[in-house]
């Protein structure tokens, strides 16, 4: 503890004020990523079920959505929503301005839609990989399509989707750095502020990079534990 305090006193950049700034950035990053992942997941489940439908008028709109959102950079999607909404004539006088005044909500919307598109395709793959025999058995038991989906297909599809989904979570964490381009002070934004204040790019950005690295490893660790629990039956023995 003394060593840490001594270190804090002996350098110009990492003092309590800048560390607090980094902390605020970290809170913003985690908040943004966590909320968009949860919302994206909620959107992705029904979309994935629609995407596996054989009826083109159900399948096709969802395909269009995932195609567009996976085929264009998140930065463009963010700019479209952020600038697109804030530059609409009269929006600043309307009731919606409370929501869009801060960059947080446009950013959250862009991130949510983007992760929903990727997650939909991950779930679609997992649903389509359901062994045929399981579905036939469920049909033989007289289960309706909805019950089959709820009891047989989705539980096993979720498990199969875990490895791919863990990659998507880390990807989202890394993509969230672009929130700093629309005035949000996330971890990258904090690093940029401190770089601008002290003109010390190495210290400012490497410190942020180390925090991102810790977050990434934490996510991988959590998913590894989850995989061990949920996919234990598939482990080679």
């Amino acid at each position: 503890m003394d060593a840490i305090l001594a270190l804090l006193e002996n350098n110009d950049i990492f003092n309590p004020t800048t560390l607090a700034h980094y902390w605020d950035g970290l809170v913003n990053t985690v908040q943004l990523v966590f909320l968009s992942l949860v919302l994206g997941l909620v959107l992705a489940v029904p979309l994935a079920i629609m995407r596996t439908s054989k009826k083109p008028w159900i399948n096709w709109p969802v395909w269009c959505f995932t195609y567009v959102f996976r085929g264009t950079p998140l930065l463009i999607q963010l700019y479209m929503i952020y600038y697109g909404v804030t530059l609409i004539d009269g929006i600043q006088e309307s009731v919606f301005w409370v929501i869009f005044e801060r960059a947080f909500y446009p950013c959250l919307i862009a991130f949510t839609l983007n992760t929903a598109a990727y997650t939909t395709e991950i779930f679609r793959g997992a649903i389509e990989a359901t062994p045929r025999g399981e579905i036939e058995a469920a049909k033989a038991y007289g289960m309706s399509a909805a019950k089959r989906m709820r009891r047989i297909v989705l539980p096993s599809a979720f498990r199969r989707a875990i490895p791919a989904y863990s990659n998507e979570v880390v990807f989202m964490l890394h993509s969230s750095a672009i929130a700093s381009t629309v005035t949000i002070i996330d971890l990258t934004g904090a690093a940029r502020d401190i770089y601008a204040r002290f003109y010390a790019p190495f210290q400012a950005y490497i410190f942020a990079a180390l925090i991102y690295l810790c977050l990434t490893f934490t996510i991988f660790y959590i998913f590894k534990q989850l995989e061990k629990r949920m996919l234990g039956h598939l482990r080679p023995r």
Binding site: Y67, V68, R70, G71, T72, P73, L74, L75, I76, Q77, Y79, M80, Y83, G84, L87, L173, H174, S175, S176, A177, I178, S180, T181, T188, A191, R192, Y195, P201, F202, Y205, I206, A208, A209, Y212, L213, T216, F217
Partner: protein, 235 residues
């Protein structure tokens, strides 16, 4: 018709720049990826250790942070080196390098995706049977010949799906260079959108160009897959 308020040609130039950027960084990424994969599979411990450090660190940090680090930090690092040269040579060596955003962009994106490519190539190299390499050596081929004639053509088949994925992500990552001030199509569209206050008419065409690029890439990779799978039965 679409009215781009006279910004059309400059955004078109931005698109060309995006494509150049993507191809040059792909080239660097593939070279670094081959090096990284050979390092990971090497029998020398320091090499293994170094390439594992490279892939782990790079894949754990956001692209934008690395780009800022290399772009802003790179200039200071180069200045330090040139200052040192100037001082130690008593002013005989007086050089000045300005880190240009294009070079920084290509270097950064290539460096980042080199780490992803290393993982792809490592898996693909491991998928080539050992007997093939032994057979090559038994024919008296040199190490390079074994790589060029036996490993590489067979490895590519296994690497293509991963390579295609990485390329798609790389293509979209190029949009980030607009943040460090490089005049790619995203940067130009943002400037135009702010000036004219019409965001959609500029961002929609840019998004469509990206969509076209990813669609064409997908088609090309399907063709390549067919080319490299010649003689392989698929069940």
């Amino acid at each position: 018709m679409l009215d781009l308020h006279g910004y059309g040609p400059s955004i078109f130039n931005g698109a060309i720049l995006t494509i150049q950027l993507a191809f040059l960084s792909l080239l660097i990424a593939v070279l670094l990826g081959l090096l990284g994969a050979s390092g990971k599979l090497s029998s020398k411990r320091p090499l293994r250790w170094l390439s594992t450090l490279y892939t782990t660190l790079i894949r754990g940090v956001p692209d934008l942070v690395l780009m800022m680090l290399i772009y802003f930090g790179g200039q200071i690092g180069i200045n330090a080196v040139t200052d040192w040269l100037y001082n130690t040579s008593d002013g005989a060596i007086d050089i000045f390098f300005q880190v240009n955003p294009f070079v920084a962009g290509v270097a950064t994106i290539g460096f980042i995706f080199g780490a992803y490519m290393s993982e792809t190539f490592r898996g693909a190299f491991m998928a080539v049977e050992n007997g093939q390499i032994e057979a090559g050596k038994a024919y008296g081929m040199t190490g390079w010949q074994v790589f060029n004639r036996i490993m590489f053509p067979q490895m590519m088949r296994h690497a293509l799906p991963g390579l295609g994925n990485n390329w798609q992500v790389l293509l979209k990552t190029t949009a980030l260079v607009s943040v460090i001030g490089l005049a790619d199509m995203v940067n130009l569209a943002t400037e135009a959108a702010k000036t004219v206050r019409e965001p959609f008419i500029f961002f929609v065409p840019v998004a469509l160009v990206y969509l076209a690029l990813t669609t064409v890439s997908e088609w090309v990779f399907r063709q390549l897959k067919r080319r490299y799978s010649v003689g392989v039965m698929e069940g």
